[in-house]
């Protein structure tokens, strides 16, 4: 199959050797690059913002899944911008029901496919961070625990962006949102980001991964593994939001990359409980650099930045301290 337009035929493989090589020959992503569809199943012309990280997450996931998939979707930005009747960006069967039930709807779809003898059709459930870590938490937990054969993809832009940037359980420490504004008595969001992938992993499901839209091959490879997994699989993809984070459109990917390079977001996967870091930043960048690029953190004092840096350092040591690579 022809290599998709959005994947350069040569990638600088920072994960392995730093050398330039034909992407199709890369031992890590070669198979992905060969198999991935060159079709755009998430069509252009949708109403997403320029520089929207979440639409990238949708589009790349569908490239991996191909046509033989049914998508369920929670209420949220991606649902609104992709399905205003009579238009649709979805070239695969797609259903949106409500905010908190994407995983429950997916269980019904999966059960129906089994009952109708169509086991070959894949099921992907999408939800934003609010629709996953907050209001959709119960439905997701139930669907994971029951062992349905489906992939849940949480696109995490770290607040309720659809309703105008309100704080969610996935909002990072210190971030200004419209419901966690800084003020005389407040420095912004007081809590640390809910560790959803770890909570999901506690269900004992066969595949859990974190990803970032700034690392498309890593993300797509994880979606591929998730789709190949028999039983429930979960991919939590960090996705930048230009209005929500207060960043220029053209900086969307740069900021998302810096989240990973600073250790604010770590890329790993858990296959049958066995963990593996899939990307170690070549050089640990200070959290301050990441924060400085975004309006939502602009108000933070050095004291609060220090709190965040310590939080990141602890996790960094925990993860990379044990990593063999």
């Amino acid at each position: 199959m022809r290599v998709a337009v959005d994947i350069p035929s040569y990638v600088r493989c920072r994960h392995v050797c730093g050398a330039s090589l034909a992407a199709s020959r890369c031992y890590k992503f070669g198979r992905l690059v060969k198999e991935v569809s060159d079709e755009e199943l998430f069509a252009s012309g949708h109403r997403g913002c320029a520089g929207c990280g979440c639409t990238i997450a949708m589009r790349l996931a569908l490239k991996v899944a191909g046509r033989n998939v049914i998508v369920t979707h929670a209420t949220g930005c991606m649902e609104v911008i992709s399905s205003p009747y009579p238009e649709t960006a979805w070239r695969v069967p797609w259903i949106h029901v409500a905010f908190e039930n994407s995983a429950a709807v997916a269980s019904g779809v999966e059960a129906a496919l089994k009952a109708l003898g169509k086991r070959h059709v894949k099921v992907i459930a999408f939800g934003g961070d609010g629709g996953t870590v907050d209001i959709g938490f119960q439905a997701l937990s139930g669907a994971l625990e029951r062992g349905h054969d489906f992939v849940y993809i949480c696109y995490d832009n770290e607040a309720y962006m659809n309703t105008g940037i309100q704080r969610s359980g996935a909002t990072p420490y210190g971030a200004a949102t419209t419901t966690s504004p800084p003020g005389r008595e407040s420095f912004g969001n007081r809590t640390f980001k809910k560790d959803m992938p770890r909570i999901v992993a506690a269900h004992g499901i066969p595949y859990v991964a974190t990803a970032s839209v700034a690392f498309p091959l890593d993300y797509m490879e994880k979606v591929r593994k998730a789709l190949e997994t028999e039983g429930p699989a979960y991919v939590h993809v960090h996705a930048s939001c230009t209005p929500g984070w207060g960043i220029p459109s053209e900086k969307s990917i740069e900021v998302a990359r810096l989240a990973v390079d600073s250790g604010m977001w770590i890329l790993y996967e858990l296959e049958n409980g066995r963990g593996r870091v899939t990307y170690k930043p070549p050089e640990k960048r200070p959290v301050k650099e990441y924060l400085r690029m975004q309006k939502r953190f602009r108000h933070l004092t050095d004291e609060h930045i220090e709190v965040l840096q310590r939080y990141v350092d602890e996790r960094w040591d925990e993860v990379f301290g044990e990593d063999e690579e």
């Binding site: 009747y85 409500a98 779809v109 129906a112 009952a115």
Partner: protein, 390 residues
Amino acid sequence: MPHRDVMHGSRAVAEAVRLCDVKVVAAYPITPQTHIVEDIAEMVANGELDAEYIMVESEHSAMSACIGASATGARSFTATASQGLALMHEVLWIASGLRLPIVMVNANRALSAPINIWNDQSDSIAERDSGWIQIYVETAQEALDSVIQAYRIAEDAEVLLPAMVCMDGFVLTHTVEPVEVPDREQVREYLPELRMPHTLDPENPVTMGSLGDPNYYMECRKQQELAMERALEVARRADEEFRRVFGRGYGVVEEYNMEDAEVVLVTMGSVAGTIKDTIDMLGDESVGLLRLRLFRPFPKEAVRRALANAKVVNVIEKDVSIGMGEGALMTELKSVLYGSDIKVLGTVAGLGGRDITTEHIRQAVERAQRALRGERVDEVAWAGLKEEAV
């Protein structure tokens, strides 16, 4: 071959689900619905019903899973009651808005607070505007037959709406009655395989559940209303056809002792049995019963026709609209009879499982008869209320 057996009303529902070859069942336990989903689980476990049985973690997910399954083209079923139905409220509207022919049995139970597991009909009546067909049954036999009919009506290409079969909790679910279980082949003849015009199918991708802005939303609602209006005729024909195949039917309304009735009691559900007994005991030709089997769509013409010679109506119902001072059925009946000379009275009865006795029915008849004689009577009475405790 059809066979007769004695069974709980819940078992009768499970038999209907088996006979309808339901493909996906999503179930969350709640009293007094539990026996229904237990019996279905047993049938699946024994291989008597070849269905996917999803043990969901809430009623909200039960209905969500049914929506997903139905949208994928599988005949789907769930059952609930009271708090469970209330938790489903959000997704009930979506099931009907997406025009999915899901069938659900609601084992009617009072709503909290105070928490109460016993029977009344406030739960399903509160969902009257959710776009679901609602059938209220009197007996276990009718529950079984109505589930089969509900699929036939819901899946009709002219309708494509979800349907709720409402059966009084405990009074019907937990009571043993003789029931005739129809022959499976006959049911298959009556209820063909589900064929939906649009499903989630990779061969023919469609988008379901789009955003409907102010340019489109009203037309969607109007289409639902029109489908509901068509459902009335479809339900009438489905019942006639049922009578032809299985030898029994119910109509969209049932009339009892109505030929010369000037005083008519109007009700829904199992209390019709107590009312029929009371009428028999009174032996009075001037007192009749009109039982609404279909509440949504509301059988307006059938009700007007049945009440053409009535003078006073007393609506006996197990629900009350707080702040309106009467039950919803009474309000709706007044609306349907607007412009006629029929006097409409109401009796709020049996809330939270309070017994409705023949004495209460007799009092309701007497109040209507006093009104017929021109005496002033209370428009609404609460049967069996302990006045001293209020």
